[in-house]
């Protein structure tokens, strides 16, 4: 491994170090606050490292890894999300758990797993990254072990993830058997030479199952609502953003390498899945009264939209990255509000608890409203250009069926987002003020970051050009 290759991996090493540093801090009995602040700075260090190595890209680290523009984009998105999730975690766990420190080890390990996924170009690194992510997530989901539904969610996730991991391995084995290689590009070369066999396609199908599970695509989505509901709010935010971004990144790289969107069969399968996602996600959310479950269904629908970009091939990658960015910011601000409103015993997931929020806390209601409008894809928020780009590439690739379903289901989606917004502005019930035990500085920091996210949403909604240009610039680094 040359120096330059080592340098290119620097951000990931810093990320790995973060987990170790947290372990050491716990060993030296440092307080939650110290760990939180250190973790924050470690993540900032990762960002710095990424800035530092930007000129060495693209850099292959054979046989397992490749650090290129795509990886940089997705890793940046992951680190950004983790920064916010970490910030939300502090006030959440400080209030609820006498022992919140190990949480950060798991959080950073899971992040490392997701980050490894973005740079893997080989089945081995793919699988290791995925398992690193999954295993950390089992514990993270069930971290509040006093809560029944947290344990339940953790177990459900564990069982299903194990099941689908088995399928994943089986699929990888089938492909290895057919092509004699586990490296994405080599597989791609092999099939362009000798064509695709039934066993190879079956292998692809099994890998799609595993990826579909992680991304909560229909029909592998059934876990989503229960896990979203049971997991602590920051962890739910993590699942909804970081873990899905990582898996989507490796899926994009894999699909590009083996020219997946030129394979009619795979396209058919994914089209059916995308349509099913859009319909099922939106329809399930219609009457949902639990916000966390509702966001789970909504994210199923959103990944249906994202698949439209994915199916457009290379043209759709830019749109997909922009969509993920808009989606992450939106979800993080929504979960930020849920975290802030959660009480010691229970997450704020009942819709009735949001009744009249605007009259009690206009700032929170404003942030939440903007986030929901962005999820619904209303103009002037990030969700609109994001959805618009996807629709554009879909139409350019003549995927009319998907485009029509996208538009129709977006209309249905509007209903439940607006339902929440109308609740926010309804007349409030009399409720006791929430006690605030923490240092106000942390609330201030959380509020500030949420306000920044809100402005980011508006900025992306009004001037999407800047970001989309930068994304395109990164994507050519390969």
């Amino acid at each position: 491994m040359t120096n330059l290759q080592l340098l290119a991996l620097l951000p990931f090493m810093v990320l790995a170090t973060a987990a170790v540093v947290v372990i050491l801090l716990i060993a030296f009995k440092q307080s939650h606050t110290v760990i939180q602040v250190t973790g924050f700075f470690m993540m900032c260090a990762v960002v710095l490292a990424m800035w530092f190595v930007r000129d060495t890209l693209p850099r292959e680290v054979p046989p397992l890894l490749v650090v290129d523009g795509l990886a940089a984009l997705f890793t940046g998105l992951i680190i950004f999300s983790v920064l916010v999730v970490g910030l939300l975690s502090y006030i959440y766990f400080e209030e609820r758990e006498e022992n919140p420190k190990e949480y950060y080890i798991l959080l950073f390990l899971a992040t490392l797993g997701a980050a490894v996924l973005t740079i893997s170009r080989h089945f081995i690194s793919f699988f290791i990254g995925l398992e690193l992510l999954s295993v950390s997530l089992y514990a993270l989901i069930a971290y509040l072990r006093n809560r029944n539904n947290a344990i339940e969610a953790g177990v459900k996730y564990l069982m299903l993830a194990a099941l689908t991991s088995a399928f994943l391995l089986f699929g990888m084995a089938l492909i290895y058997m057919e092509t004699g290689s586990m490296e994405f590009t080599a597989i791609g070369n092999a099939i362009t030479k000798s064509g695709t066999s039934v066993l190879f396609l079956m292998g692809i199908g099994l890998i799609v199952v595993a990826i579909g599970f992680k991304l909560a695509l229909v029909p592998f989505h059934l876990w989503a609502a229960d896990v979203y509901q049971g997991a602590p709010a920051p962890v739910t935010a993590f699942i909804a953003t970081v873990s899905k971004i990582g898996v989507f990144a490796v899926f994009v790289r894999f699909a590009q390498a083996i020219h997946l969107h030129e394979n009619a069969l795979a396209v058919t399968v994914l089209t059916v899945i995308a349509i099913a996602c859009m319909i099922a996600g939106n329809v399930l959310a219609l009457m949902q009264q639990n916000i966390k479950r509702l966001l789970a269904y909504s994210s199923i629908a959103h990944f249906g939209y994202l698949l439209v970009a994915f199916l457009s091939g290379d043209a759709g990658v830019g749109a997909g990255v922009f969509y993920l960015l808009a989606y992450s910011i939106t979800l993080l601000s929504a979960f930020g509000i849920i975290t802030l409103l959660s009480t010691r015993r229970k997450d704020a997931d009942e819709l009735s608890g949001y009744r009249g929020l605007f009259w009690r806390n206009p700032l929170m209601a404003a942030i939440f409203t903007v986030a929901l409008l962005s999820l619904a894809g209303i103009p002037l928020t990030a969700g609109f250009p994001a959805k618009f780009f996807i629709l554009t590439v879909g139409v350019q690739q003549h995927m009319w069926l998907l485009a029509v379903v996208l538009v129709l289901t977006s209309v249905i989606g509007l209903y439940y987002y607006l339902r929440i917004i109308s609740t926010l502005f309804a007349s409030p019930p009399l409720s006791p003020a929430k006690e605030k035990s923490l240092h106000p500085l942390f609330y201030a920091a959380t509020y500030t970051s949420l306000v920044v996210l809100m402005f980011l949403l508006a900025w992306l909604g009004i001037f999407p050009g800047f970001i989309i240009d930068n994304v395109q610039e990164f994507l050519v680094i390969r």
Binding site: L160, L163, L201, V209, F220, L222, D226, A280, V283, Y415
Partner: protein
Amino acid sequence: MNSLLAYIPALPLLGFIILSLFGRRSPKPVIAWVGAGTVCLAALITIAVGVAFMQSTPANGAYSQLLWSWFRVGALSVDINLRVDALTLVFIFIITFVGALIHIYSAFFMWHDRDMARFFASMNLFVCSMLLLVMADNLVLLYLGWEGVGLCSYLLIGFWYEVPSNSRAANKAFLITRIGDTALLIGLFLLFKELGTLNMNAIQQQAPQHFTTGSADIVLITVLLLVGGMGKSAQMPLQTWLPDAMAGPSPVSALIHAATMVTAGVYLIARMHGLFLLSPVTMAIVAIVGAVTLLVAGCSALAQTDIKRILAYSTISQIGYMFLALGVGAWSAAIFHFFTHAFFKALLFLAAGVVIEALHHEHNIFRMGGLRKRMPEVFITFLAGAAALSALPLVTAGFFSKDAILWYSWSSAGGTSVLWFMALVGAFITALYSTRLMLVVFWGEMRTPVHQQPDRGMVIPLIILAFFSITAGFIEWPHNMLHLSLFSDHVQQVLPATVMKRDLPSEWLFQAIATVITLTGVYIGYMLYYGKSGVRWQQSPPLAATRDFFFSGWKFDQLYNFLFVKPFLFLTRVNKSDVIDKLYNGIAQAGLRLNGWFSVSQNGSLRLYIVGVLAGILFIITLQLLL
């Protein structure tokens, strides 16, 4: 000078912003100073620009100021670019100068209204929009101003919104002008499709090469533009909204429904003269629309009893003259009539406002009377306005402008004897109803006592306007009398000169006929309405029926009610549960039904979830084996 242009619309806009943000809490003097002050400042800047323009005509014949680029989409790039050439200068002078006088008047007129801030905010926004309309260098910006003035007109007609009929009048004005606006918009689309630009200069230059004279495209486009102008300028058959628009305060009627907004159609056609000249058919239509309108509205004015409705019909009729002049190619005569008309009609409306206020909101002229002695300043100024309206020869501004139109309606290349005759009958009717109005309101016995005298601040604008109503005509004399043609020299920098027929009879003959006709009209009015002689002849049945017909505005409202409103209401009754809604309701129903079905899958049972995963795998593999 270029850099000053932006301030002309920006100042009223500033006034609007201040008043709409802080107006509710501001004391009345502040509101008045902001509301009227911004427009007065804009007027001063306009005069400065105008003086500079007169002294040395700028390069290309126009000042222009590019503020910023509004948007660029494909081939269309729209700039916020202000452009003041000779034609625009006339309009912005009238808008700001007459506008400033009306604002000063309003400061006193509206003093006791609790919504004074809202009034001035709307008026300022109106002035800003109207200025944008005439200063725009492209049709998109013009359309922005066009819609802006429509909105302000709506807001101000319904200013006293608590009276339901006022709201109805506002709605009517908005809806009917919307017909014209839509036509205009379609016209702009077509124009863009043909020429690929909406910049006015580019259109003027490219149109002759692109269109052949009289081709279907150009006829369609110009007719659509004409319909747009007809809507805003209340020309037949879209004239019915203007009489009802008198529900607004009198200064609104003076500014929007007499001096400025209703002449937007005239401006549009004059500005687009390059297109209209390519379509002789449309030019003929413009002339006919104008001629018919001036007769129809003039007859209606004869029978009205509400002082403001008389003036409203008179306005429609006078704009009909402008359209007639445009249609026969007498461009500068049309603009000249706009120029003089703005003064005397604004004056008449403001004076009518004073009278109405003084008589406890009495609108019916037959319950007025004898005001000559009690309100001498109003009487004198009103007399000046009415004289200008009836175009008394040589001593009024109205004579010079109307005489030019009468002359050109015969003598220009597009003119005919029929048009001339219609215009002549119109002149007779105008003189008649002006005399009637004058005599009934100011002579005779006093039927309602005067309860307050107008403020000095309201009288001074009247006097200034009266001065201009008399003298504004002296800058442009008929050719046979005096070689003084300042106005037409000025506007002909932009507008083409009128093409004349050959072998014309002497202009003196026409002037003599017009003078005789006008004086006859005045005399007959005097015979009928001085004293009480008018009562008997009105009682005979055929005359009463005619009067009722005219009074109702030739039953146009009833006609439209029968043709459009009734069938529409019928359709809405038939289609009470909207057929189209079925589609949306269907989506909602389907969504709910699916929600019920899908929810069953979310029962929390891990076994079922695993079944889901396996079903997915089975689906994928089956598909693979099938294909």
